[in-house]
């Protein structure tokens, strides 16, 4: 299993009375509540944390969210560019430039190719469908968002992998007559691609395309269902079976010396759910295009019920998450926290419940968690996390080694080659990069 560390650079320092009074902490909260000096400190801390990950050999993951206290990473490509240059060994996943918000996918392909070259082939490209508040923040039509999403992926993929001079694209949503990006990407034909989605329809398409499929805070049932849709869609087309390397899961993770410490500090991560998801109804359940019209009876009424098959819309999922306690979050596989043994057990229990995944994204800092808590130089939580997942690397490599499939063997080789596997020796006495 590969581990990836992510921090969305939240801005929690808005007065509580302001948060209580507003109907949305995203999209419409005035930016006068964001002090640029505080923001600069946050960026410095978090970029240092990413660089510490690089020292430790823990892969890094940069997300994008717009105009809210949950994240200051509206300009994700800038962070990816910084990480491409400042890290030296780990892989960098951009999850991702929100492509259906951008007018020109070719420009996105240029940014990605450039970051791949600067990092000498360490970039991975993730695609995310975007949330309701981001439609408002970016003037992006929510009704045909998914169509734009897939078409943008097609165009980016072609722009990255086409090397024979200009080509023309006249699609439904994007037109570009003279596509010929320089530089071309380091990795051929293009960096590995990921997609984050929970709904079964998009999950099936992710499967057909063979992208790495990441589920974020979905819990065991939703995750298992999405992975199953991915596999089923491939089987229906007669495509080769995928290994667990095609599947990823993202959750809050904090490893303490003791269970008490792990849970106490890890609970701070739930600020993301309790406070930063607050989103006005016009950006969520009443936003056109976010759910099929047939779901309106479940969504429009004041006491909505889950749709057919118990599938929650993104907005309903958010509503469910805002009131979650730490214990509930742990029971649902949304928070893994405790001492190293406990966290290892929690992750592997979840792993078994969903049928395995090759990548775990550790949402390692959020809310009021401090830089020191995030870093923890001596007995660093990161180092401990790292040990935990190095152990799971070994465990899964062994399990997968019993598989006869050639693809699985290739996956194992990839894992064995990964720096995470030999984790302990290089990371003793690691100090923070200045």
């Amino acid at each position: 299993m590969d581990a990836w560390w992510q921090c969305e650079v939240p801005y929690p320092f808005v007065p509580q009375e302001v948060i209580n009074a507003t109907d949305s902490v995203r999209a419409s909260l005035p930016n006068r509540y964001c002090d640029p000096k505080v923001a600069a400190d946050l960026f410095e801390e978090v970029i240092d944390e990413f660089l510490l990950c690089d020292d430790l050999g823990l892969n890094v993951l940069a997300v994008e969210h717009h105009a809210g206290i949950n994240s200051l990473l509206g300009a994700n490509p800038l962070l990816v560019g910084i990480l491409a240059r400042q890290t030296r060994q780990v892989r960098i996943l951009s999850l991702g430039t929100l492509i259906s918000l951008r007018k020109d996918p070719v420009r996105v392909a240029e940014e990605y190719a450039t970051a791949d070259v600067i990092s000498r082939g360490r970039l991975e490209i993730g695609f995310v469908k975007s949330g309701g508040t981001e439609m408002a923040s970016n003037n992006a039509n929510p009704v045909n968002n998914i169509e734009r999403y897939w078409e943008a992926i097609d165009l980016i993929k072609k722009a990255l992998s086409h090397h024979d001079g200009p080509f023309s694209w006249e699609g439904k949503h994007f037109t570009h007559r003279h596509v010929n990006i320089w530089p071309r990407p380091w990795q051929q034909p293009h960096p590995r691609m990921w997609s984050a989605t929970g709904d079964p329809e998009t999950a099936a398409e992710v499967g057909r395309r063979g992208l790495v499929h990441v589920l974020v805070l979905r819990g065991p049932e939703g995750t298992k269902r999405a992975y199953a849709a991915h596999r089923k869609a491939r089987a229906e087309l007669g495509l080769p079976k995928v290994t667990t390397d095609n599947f990823a899961y993202a959750a809050f993770v904090y490893v303490g010396d003791t269970d008490e410490e792990g849970l106490r500090v890890g609970s701070k991560l739930l600020w993301f759910l309790h406070t930063s998801l607050k989103s006005a109804p016009q950006y969520s359940r009443f936003l056109p295009g976010t759910a099929p019209p047939e779901a309106a009876p479940q969504i429009y009424r004041t006491a909505p019920k889950p749709g057919p098959g118990g599938v929650l819309s993104a907005g309903q999922n958010a509503a469910r998450l805002t009131s979650l306690s730490a214990e509930q979050a742990m029971a649902q596989g949304i928070l893994f926290a405790g001492n190293p043994d406990s966290v290892y057990k929690q992750v592997m229990d979840f792993y078994d419940k969903v049928g395995g995944f090759g990548h775990l994204s550790l949402v390692g800092r959020s809310g009021f968690m401090t830089h020191a808590e995030s870093e923890r130089a001596s007995g660093s939580s990161r180092t401990k996390c790292f040990r935990v997942f190095a152990r799971s690397n070994r465990s899964r490599s062994t399990d997968a080694g019993r598989s006869a499939s050639g693809e699985a063997r290739r996956a194992i080789l990839a894992v064995r080659d990964h720096p995470l596997v030999d984790v302990f020796a290089p990371f003793q006495g690691v100090t923070k990069r200045v």
């Binding site: 006005a280 056109p288 019209p293 429009y300 009424r301 004041t302």
Partner: protein, 189 residues
Amino acid sequence: MYDLVHFYLDVLESLPHEKVTLMGLSFGGWLAAEIAVKCGHRLDGLVLVDAFGIKISDRETQDILDVFNTAPPEVQRRSWHDPATWTPDLDALSDDELVIRARNWDALCLYGWNPYMYNPQLRRWLRRIAVPTLVVWGASDGIVKPSYGRAYSELIPGSRFELIERAGHHPEIEQARAFVDTVVKFLNR
């Protein structure tokens, strides 16, 4: 909008009447204005009611309330002269009614998201409308104000502007009698 206009041109051509009076309300007013610009020879009159479709104010003043990015209670408050009476109770609507509402909402978004509820080119072609035109507006419309309606009317040669008192964005619902009287008077001109 291009498709929608041509769909309605097909409808016009399929009608047994040589000429008809075309009425459009709100978003439909935009559609009616587009059709009247293109196909005036099939019309003998045009009625626009609290219509969208053109840009009047400066670039930093939105003419039409952004119903997608505004809190739903505020949208309702601005939609009606008497919101307490007319705001729909979503909990009381049937499943079918809610599905229709969601479909309409999706369609409105698809057609009108950007530029928001107007066609930058339409304004300059309104001069082509040569049929008698009535522009009707709810005096209390908070979605798109009567001043916008007056400006719209002034851009259509010879058009008449009428306010309906004690009505918001939907005078045909809130003051149905007065609305019908106004339209009938225009039809019997």
